[in-house]
Amino acid sequence: MAEPPIARGFKSRRQEQTPKDRLPPGQYVTTDFPVLSAGPTPQIKLEDWTFAIQMDGSILGKWRWKEFEALPQTTKKTDIHCVTKWSKLDTSWQGVTFDDLLRALGLAKPPAPYVMAHCDGAYTTNIPTKDLIDGKSMIATRYDDLPIPPAHGGPARLLVPHLYFWKSGKWVRRLRFMQEEERGFWESLGYHNYGDPWKEQRYDGD
C-alpha cells in the first residue's frame, strides 16, 4: 500500500498526550459524552420496565425494575470507544454483570455461543457470549453514581466496553441466546461484525 499523502500544513494540536495503551488507533479523547442514536430517545417508565433473558422460544428469566435492582451490584471504571472516533477515559458504571445474571438463572455456564441484545426502538446488536462473561460486560443502570439519563441509554444499557460502543446497546430489554450468529442493526449496515477498537474493526472487512 502506498504511503498516505501528507496533508500540507496539518499539525497535531493535541494538548495532552494520552498514553498509547489507552487510546486505540484513529481515536481521540473527548471530555464530553456525545449522543449517537438512530432514532428518538424512548421514554420508559420504571414501573413498565422489564428485562429478560431468552433462549430459543422460551424466557429463561425476567425481572421487573425492583427485582433487577435487588441483584448483586458491581461498579466498573473503564474507557469507552465510539466508532465515530471519540474515546472517553475513566467512565464509571454500576449495574449487574452478565455473570451474575447467569448465576441468578442458576446456569453454571452460558447455554449458547452468541447473544443478540434487543433494545427499545427496535435496535439490536450481536455479541459473542465469550465477550460477555468473566466480568467483561454488565447491564448498567448507573453512570457516575446517578441513574443513566435516557439519552445515554437509561434506565438500563448493555456495557461491553472492550468493543466499539455501538455494541453497548442503549435501552436494552432482552438478551437472546443464539446457537448460530445473526447480525444486529449496524452489523447489517456495513459495520464490523465484531468491532474490536484495538484492531480498528470499524467496518466490514476491516
Binding site: 496539518f10 484513529g26 449522543v35 428518538p40 449496515l189 461484525n193 467496518y203 472487512g205
Partner: protein, 255 residues
C-alpha cells in the same frame, strides 16, 4: 470483494482525495469539493471518514457527512469551524486546491433517503446538521423527484444559514418544496420568519400529519435532535419513521 454471510461487501479502503475547489458558505463554514479517483458512489445521507497525515506521520481521523448528491462529479464535504478543534480549523482555514488527504466510505445505510423512497419527506436541521439533508435535497432536485418535501432549518442568525441562496433557488423553481427558516439568536430587521427554536407548535403546523406517513430525518446538535424527535413522537409520528443523527461540540459527526 469479500463474502460475509449472504451479502457481498466491499472493503472500505483509504482513497486519496484531492481538493478541487472551495466554497465559503458562511463566515465559519466552508465546503470542500474533492476528486476521489474510483469513488464507488454513495447514497444521500451517508458519510465518510477523513484522515489527515501530518509531516512526521501523526494522523487524525474524523467523520463528515457528504453534502453532494450521488449525481455530482465531486464529493463535497461541508465543514464548520469548531473552536479549539484539531481537524476542522485546518479544513476550514488552511486547505487549498491541490491539497491531498484520504477518505474512506461511503458509510452508513440508515440515515438515507433516495427518490425511490418517495414522499412526503420532512427534513429538520440545526446548524451544520443541514449537510446530509442537503445531499437529499440536491438528489431530489437532480432527479426531478415529485416527492413533496419540507425543510425546517434552525440557524442562529441569517449569516449562519448554510446554502441559503441555493435553497432559495430550489424553492423558487419547485412548488413541491417548502423551506422554513427559524433564526434563534438574531434576526434581521423586518424578518417575518420564525424567531424561536423549533418547538411543538411549529412542528404541528409545518410537519405533515402522521396519517400521511412522512419519512422524517433530523440532524443537528444533540439538544435540538433530542427535543425535536421527542416532540414528533408526542405528535403521533411513528418512532421508526424518525431517523436521527446527533452531534456535539467535540464528538459525533461533523465536529
Amino acid at each position: 470483494m469479500i463474502k460475509t454471510g449472504s451479502s457481498t461487501v466491499r472493503r472500505l479502503v483509504w482513497q486519496v482525495a484531492e481538493v478541487r475547489a472551495l466554497v465559503q458558505e458562511t463566515y465559519r463554514v466552508r465546503s470542500i469539493l474533492l476528486n476521489v479517483n474510483g469513488w464507488p458512489g454513495h447514497l444521500p445521507g451517508q458519510h465518510v471518514d477523513l484522515r489527515l497525515t501530518a509531516d512526521g506521520g501523526y494522523q487524525a481521523q474524523r467523520s463528515y457527512s457528504i453534502a453532494s448528491p450521488p449525481e455530482d462529479k465531486f464529493v463535497t464535504l461541508t465543514v464548520e469551524h469548531v473552536d479549539n478543534g484539531e481537524v476542522s480549523p485546518y479544513l476550514v482555514g488552511e486547505v487549498r486546491p491541490g491539497d491531498q488527504f484520504e477518505l474512506r466510505g461511503p458509510i452508513g445505510g440508515y440515515f438515507v433517503w433516495t427518490a425511490a423512497m418517495g414522499g412526503p419527506l420532512v427534513l429538520i436541521a440545526g446548524g451544520s446538521g443541514i449537510t446530509p439533508l442537503m445531499a437529499m435535497l440536491r438528489h431530489r432536485d437532480r432527479q426531478n423527484s415529485p416527492a413533496v418535501a419540507r425543510l425546517m432549518y434552525s440557524s442562529r442568525s441569517l449569516e449562519d444559514i448554510i446554502y441559503r441562496e441555493e435553497l432559495d433557488t430550489m424553492v423558487h423553481r419547485d412548488a413541491n418544496l417548502c423551506v422554513i427558516h427559524a433564526l434563534t439568536r438574531k434576526q434581521p430587521e423586518g424578518w417575518i420568519g420564525y424567531r424561536r427554536r423549533i418547538d411543538k407548535a411549529l412542528l404541528a403546523k409545518t410537519c405533515f400529519p402522521p396519517e400521511e406517513r412522512p419519512n422524517i430525518f433530523v440532524c443537528g446538535p444533540t439538544p435540538l435532535v433530542e427535543s425535536v424527535s421527542s416532540l414528533l413522537v408526542e405528535l403521533g409520528h411513528d418512532p421508526h419513521a424518525i431517523r436521527t443523527e446527533r452531534f456535539g461540540p467535540s464528538g459525533g459527526y461533523i465536529p
